[in-house]
């Protein structure tokens, strides 16, 4: 049933024009514009790879935040309550939503990577491609948990604001648009503590043929734990109010 629920929510999200704009069109357009104007200020091949990972991650962040916003939008419709009146456990419902969030990150990740390979001539070995794409996908899980927590906890309007802050603000701060090496030193330090920077770092390093750093993994894992706890808290709050 978890899968049936995931499929239902996925279909709904994929039909949402907001998803199309935030997760597919914007990252793809920005990727093609950024790399062809060379705003990254780096050598061609490296910039193309850097931006590819950044914009794929940007699209993935948009997708998981869109999932969160759609949870918040369902609340006033009584959908969260309706689900509680079906023979579904709360774990199945949250797991279905989480799987939905993960599934809808695949179109932006794959489309940006494909255009990186086809349009911008990013060339990686098969293993490297698999690592880059796999880490882009799995690494978004903590942000997916954050989006779910925001969705359950906040009203639709608040969730839209929070989602936008994460989508634009955290992506920018995390270095998905421009490398944090261009940032002032103090800002770069802050950036390195963000989950999104450590998320991007996984795939940037994989594209260069390196494994994840211990520090990066620890930072990301800590955020993951915090966001999962936050999602659980948000869900519990929603069951108390969604009457």
């Amino acid at each position: 049933m978890t899968l049936a629920y995931m499929r239902l929510e996925m279909v709904r999200l994929l039909r949402d024009p907001g998803y199309l704009v935030m997760s597919l069109i914007s990252p793809l357009l920005m990727y093609l514009v950024f790399t062809n104007l060379d705003l990254g200020g780096q050598g061609d091949g490296k910039a193309a790879l850097y931006s590819m990972v950044g914009m794929a991650g940007f699209g993935a962040v948009g997708a998981v935040m869109g999932n969160g916003v759609s949870i918040a939008e369902d609340k006033p419709l009584g959908w969260i309550r309706q689900l509680r009146l079906l023979p579904l456990g709360p774990v199945q419902v949250v797991a279905g939503r989480a799987l939905c969030a993960m599934a809808v990150t695949l179109p932006p990740i794959l489309s940006v990577c494909l255009s990186g390979a086809v349009v911008n001539g990013v060339s990686l070995g098969i293993g490297q491609w698999a690592a880059v794409i796999g880490l882009l996908w799995l690494g978004i899980a903590p942000m997916a948990a954050l989006g779910i927590g925001l969705g359950y906890l906040l009203t639709a309007q608040q969730a839209q604001m929070a989602g936008l802050v994460c989508y634009m603000g955290l992506s920018l701060l995390g270095g998905l648009w421009f490398p944090i090496s261009e940032f002032p030193g103090w800002l770069a330090h802050i950036a390195q503590a963000t989950p999104i920077n450590r998320y991007g770092e996984l795939s940037w390093r994989a594209g260069d043929g390196h494994g994840p750093t211990l520090l990066g993994t620890v930072v990301l894992a800590a955020w993951a734990a915090a966001f999962v706890a936050f999602a659980a808290y948000g869900f519990r709050c929603s069951t108390r109010t969604a009457v």
Binding site: A4, R81, R84, L86, P87, L88, V243
Partner: protein
């Protein structure tokens, strides 16, 4: 509210009316009510001393209620009577502060998880991004997974029952109010649950949509399921429920069949035709009617009288005595004795907003 239609109105006389026990004793399970194994149950729903406060407001105040399986029960009460709160507790959405609720022999949450309950909550709209068929199909699948040993109706049959086959390809959020309610009804019965709970199912619907929805609900009730619906439309309770539970200020204040509740209100109306007077002589007609009115008020049991045209209506506390006196005077043309209407009974019982 419109008066009762001919034929569905109050019984013409209380004489000889059989008094049925308003609360069927526990254990009276109608035959073939489709009880599933696993729950040795004597009642479909039991509220025991349920109390629920919201801040300083006591929404449910010591509610005791037992519903027999296979019956259709109306929860009737004015707005704010605690109907929706009681239903939310029954569905396991909110816990009671005191007391306990059992649904089909188990806790409410358990009964919902076991797929034994279908519900149509009061507020709530359908979600965007899905077709009617996808939505109802998903709900049906969730029940199918929970009750694998029960043969559920096919999706096509389900859509047919709820009269939404022609809507199956439409987006769920783009339906009219009546169409949406039919879809929500289909979701409530998608798992062929033993108990369906409908919280003010027809609020805001036009007459035609209401009739269609009731046709579907009655058909479902006839299959042997327990139906609990709340309403503040008196005719709905009167027309569709085997039993009416009147709730006010969080308590049960009356409980029984529609007839029994009407009988709770003392007083009957005795009406008959005056001897006809020539229409041309209107002055005489007026005088005789007025004189008759004075005499009528003196009849035993009569509290007040009214005369409309040639029809006299006497409000009496003892219709037997009144009728006997009328018979003696020979004035029994088109005699009719009626009980109070359900609306009158309801207003009397709930204090009509007074005595609070």
């Amino acid at each position: 509210m419109p008066g009762p239609a001919p034929g569905t109105g109050p019984a013409p006389s209380v004489i000889g009316m059989t008094k049925i026990d308003s609360r069927p004793p526990a254990g009276t399970v109608p035959p073939g009510d489709g009880a599933r194994p696993g729950g040795a149950m004597t009642s479909a729903v039991t509220f025991t001393g349920v109390v629920k406060n919201f801040g300083t407001v006591r929404a449910v105040d010591g509610l005791d209620l037992r519903l027999s399986p296979g019956r259709t029960v109306a929860l009737l009460g004015p707005n704010g009577a605690g109907k929706s709160t009681a239903i939310s507790i029954l569905l396991g959405l909110i816990p009671p502060d005191e007391g306990a609720v059992e649904v089909l022999g188990r806790k409410p949450e358990r009964a919902v998880r076991d797929g034994l309950v279908g519900a149509m909550p009061q507020s709530g709209r359908l979600i965007p991004g899905v077709t009617v068929k996808e939505l109802v199909g998903f709900v049906r699948r969730s029940y199918a997974a929970a009750v694998p040993d029960v043969a559920l109706p096919s999706l096509a049959e389900l859509l047919e029952t709820a009269r939404i086959t022609d809507l199956e390809g439409r987006r769920a959020d783009r339906l009219s109010g009546g169409q949406a309610q039919r879809v929500r009804f289909a979701m409530a019965v998608a798992g062929a649950p033993e108990l369906i709970v409908l919280d003010e199912p027809t609020t805001g619907m036009d007459i035609e949509s209401r009739r269609e929805l009731w046709t579907s609900i009655r058909a479902y009730a006839e299959s042997g399921s327990t139906v609990l619906f709340s309403t503040h439309y008196l005719e709905e309770a009167d027309d569709h429920a085997d039993r009416i539970v009147v709730v006010d200020r969080g308590r049960v204040i009356a409980d029984g069949t529609s007839e029994q509740i009407k009988q709770r209100v003392p007083g009957r109306t005795v009406s008959f035709d005056l001897p006809t007077v020539h229409e041309t002589d209107s002055r005489v007609s007026y005088e005789s009617a007025s004189t008759a009115g004075v005499a009528l008020d003196m009849l035993p049991g009569v509290v007040s009288s009214e005369i409309r045209g040639t029809r006299v209506r006497l409000h009496t506390t003892d219709s037997d005595l009144t009728v006997l006196a009328l018979a003696e005077s020979g004035r029994i043309r088109n005699l009719e004795v009626t009980g109070a209407g359900l609306e009158e009974a309801f207003l009397t019982l709930t204090g009509n907003g007074e005595n609070r």
